[in-house]
């Protein structure tokens, strides 16, 4: 955790943005990188273990969940999970039928995979930024980025896979028509072939890049804002009782997880009593606010509110970005299937 001085603030942000890298270091051979510099020195022969592990894990969750539903799919009355899964499947099916006019059995499952998987990866953004890296810190893992879609490798990997599909189907469906499209468009004269080729190639290459970088940019920015808001908690530390609350009084600049767990338990207890009907809702809000203010001071309250506000807004973004990625994939593949 960072204090109020700028150096450690920068460090905090950089630490948060550093992947857990396993790669071939020129000096140490294949090993985990112990610093950002080491990671950079590894160059291309390295793997972001955290991104890949979270991404594969979330992908497996998607597979398991949907396979589970598929196995239990009945023609009778659907219930629970099956209902939910069918809702998504039907939604995707509708989008694909609207935007994709060729006949390809791959596009709909592809769209489903993209939508759910990207959504799950984006969803990791809503976990408190420090939670999992902090816990993994105890296990000796010092770098951890839990949102795979804030890693350009992940988003570009998917975009390039989509690009490969685009090229494959363009060649398969259009054959020489694809070459004609690249050379004789938009100026239909042989003199313009170099110009056309240049323009169309740029246009073609722009598709996977915009696809991958859009998702990356959105998620990266969102993550950044979460990190910046998270620093408000820390900013209160050492700023006295009014700003930093009991927390600043007791621990100074060093965060103690246990303290926050106690605060968390107290707030949960108050909410629980409200649910049991022992205290009124107004009192619940008031008592919770007092507990949080006493514990973390004004900065914690403001930070908490901002985290919450941004998270609410971010729910929209992560869903929208997953949807956009899916729709653009469908549209690109649809274009690859259209023979002029």
């Amino acid at each position: 955790m960072a204090g109020e001085n700028p150096a450690s603030t920068t460090e905090y942000i950089q630490h948060h943005l550093q992947n857990l890298v396993y790669g071939n270091h020129p000096d140490h051979g294949w090993s985990f990188a112990h610093s950002a510099q080491e990671a950079a020195e590894m160059g291309f022969m390295a793997i972001h273990v955290d991104s890949l592990a979270w991404s594969i894990g979330l992908g497996l969750i998607f597979c398991f969940l949907f396979r589970f539903a598929a196995v239990r799919a009945t023609t009778g009355v659907p219930s629970g999970l099956l209902n939910f899964v069918e809702l998504i499947v039907e939604f995707i099916d509708g989008v694909v039928k609207d935007s994709f006019h060729g006949s390809n059995k791959m596009v709909a499952p592809l769209a489903l995979t993209i939508f759910v998987w990207v959504f799950l990866m984006n969803l990791m953004d809503l976990l408190p930024v420090d939670l999992i890296p902090y816990l993994l810190g105890f296990a000796g893992v010092h770098y951890q980025k839990i949102v795979p879609s804030t890693d350009p490798n992940i988003t570009m990997g998917m975009a390039l896979a989509v690009f490969a599909l685009m090229l494959y189907y363009s060649v398969k469906i259009k054959g020489t028509g694809f070459i004609k499209e690249l050379t004789m468009h938009p100026f239909n004269h042989w003199v313009f072939i170099p110009v056309n080729l240049f323009m169309e190639t740029v246009g073609l290459l722009a598709k996977p890049f915009s696809l991958g970088l859009r998702l990356f940019g959105n998620m990266y920015a969102g993550e950044m804002i979460f990190i910046l808001i998270a620093m408000m908690f820390a900013a209160g530390a050492g700023a006295g009782f009014a700003a930093g609350g009991l927390h600043a009084q007791l621990f100074g600049e060093h965060t103690n997880l246990l303290f926050w767990l106690v605060i968390f338990a107290l707030v949960c207890g108050v909410c629980w009593m409200n649910l049991k009907g022992k205290i009124s809702t107004g009192k619940t809000v008031l008592i919770s606010a007092v507990i949080m203010t006493l514990g973390g001071g004004v900065f914690a309250i403001a930070g908490g509110l901002m985290q919450w506000g941004w998270a609410v807004f971010h729910v929209l973004i992560i869903t929208l970005q997953a949807f956009i990625f899916m729709v653009l994939t469908i549209v690109y593949l649809s274009m690859a299937h259209e023979d002029h």
Partner: protein
Amino acid sequence: MNINLTLFGQMVTFAFFVWFCMKFVWPIILQAMEERQQKIADGLDAADRALHDLEQAQNKASDQMQEAKQEAAGIIDQANKRAVQIIEEAKQQAVTEGERLKVAAQAEIEQEVNRAKEELRATVAGLALAGAEKVLEASIDEKSNRALVDKLAAQL
């Protein structure tokens, strides 16, 4: 933030998940949904048909009821007529029987009366003879007087 092997790792993973979804998830769920859709459509059809059938059955039932009512009314009519007829017949019979009985009784009475007259005559004849015997105090030849007495008795 470096581009590295992760890129290809993600591409491979992506391909695998898409394959998995294409093979084991999508067709199964979609098929189940389509089948259910068909089933629901069939069910709705069947319900419509059943409603139609019900209407028909109701019409038929009410027709039959009407018929039965008419038939019943006919039967009741007939029965009433028959009852009247039977009563009429019975009356006729009773009258005839009464007549017959009356005739028989009268005949019997007449017979009785005749018998009584006969008896009375015999008795009176005896009495007259005894009276005459006593009056005359003499022995009268029964044979010569008998015709006289009988003539007397017949006049009674």
